[in-house]
Amino acid sequence: MSFINYMAREINCKIVYYGPGLCGKTTNLQYIYERTNPDAKGKMISLATETERTLFFDFLPLSLGEIRGFKTRFHLYTVPGQVFYDASRKLILKGVDGVVFVADSQIERMEANLESVENLRTNLQEQGYSLDRLPYVIQYNKRDLPNVASVEELRELVNSTHVPEFEACARTGVGVFETLKAIAKLVLTELKRGS
């Protein structure tokens, strides 16, 4: 749920990075954090376990500049990817304005990708959202690894609705900002359409 503040002349939107465990959601946010101008970002918060697995969420506030005198602020969140943290994932989706699904391109993670994208659809439905009506993009991550499925295979598996898709290597930053820009644009376009 975007928040329009006429007093502060700000639009605030919430974007959630979703995907199976170890697919690179936190790595996406870390790369964005590292490469963003200090005055355009806030502190990145990671609620993680001792082994650096996301426990509840990562949070990164970003400013993207002004539109018609309104500052645009995006709050980026990741969910914990591990299957048993489903209750937490549902909470993070509350009030979401746009979703990035990060798929792990490795062949052995195909089942995990499918399970996660189905879990995303179900959890959104529980909150009264439809994945088909929400600003939504998909990132095929880890394209640099040797044992990856083809983009065609991935598309067939997790992108049957043909939403914008991006190949990425979040560790080195390939595709990270392209993905972010695409979802931010879709969210703003939806805001325009909905107003």
Binding site: M1, N5, L47, F57, F59, P61, I67, A87, L91, K94
Partner: protein, 159 residues
């Protein structure tokens, strides 16, 4: 539209800010702030200069969301109040009208009893303001975003 928007206007913001400013005084608090359930900071008052209110807002909302999840499992409606006691600082968190979260940070200069008393009164006032705000938001009106062009959006991303 999929997402109903939270909107804040100048008039309501000023009324909310007054309540928050007064609560800092009345409760002898260090900081008071209001966050919506999605983690967006709405208003803050007190010694906020050296405080990362954006992060605090997001964590507060996460906290309330997690507690709400626990309440649901116990077939409770909500746990409307939370209190965290530290060595120097304490945090009192109150859900207002199941819509926004009122957070009071205080130290030894105040007490839990005083904070609870003052929060109760402030919550009632805030609830009235937010109810009126919600009605206003539902009225059809001009939005500045109807006029945004694709070019405006593209311009944001020109590096």
């Amino acid at each position: 539209m999929v997402n109903p928007q939270m909107v804040m206007y100048e008039e309501e913001f000023n009324r909310i800010q007054m309540v928050v400013d007064r609560l800092v005084q009345d409760a002898n608090a260090r900081v008071v702030f209001i966050v919506d359930k999605n983690g967006q900071l709405i208003a803050a008052s007190g010694d906020v200069e050296n405080l990362d209110t954006t992060s605090l807002a997001s964590l507060t909302a996460g906290n309330i969301a997690a507690t709400g999840g626990m309440a649901k499992l116990l077939k409770e409606n909500e746990f409307a109040t939370q209190f965290h006691e530290g060595e120097k600082a304490n945090i009192h968190i109150q859900l207002v009208g199941n819509r926004v979260i009122l957070v009071v940070i205080f130290d030894a200069k105040s007490s839990l009893g005083l904070v609870r008393l003052r929060v109760k009164r402030a919550s009632e006032e805030l609830n009235r303001i937010f109810e009126a705000l919600l009605k206003k938001v539902q009225e059809p009106g001009e939005s500045p975003f109807a006029e945004i062009t694709d070019e405006d959006i593209d311009n944001l991303f020109n590096d």
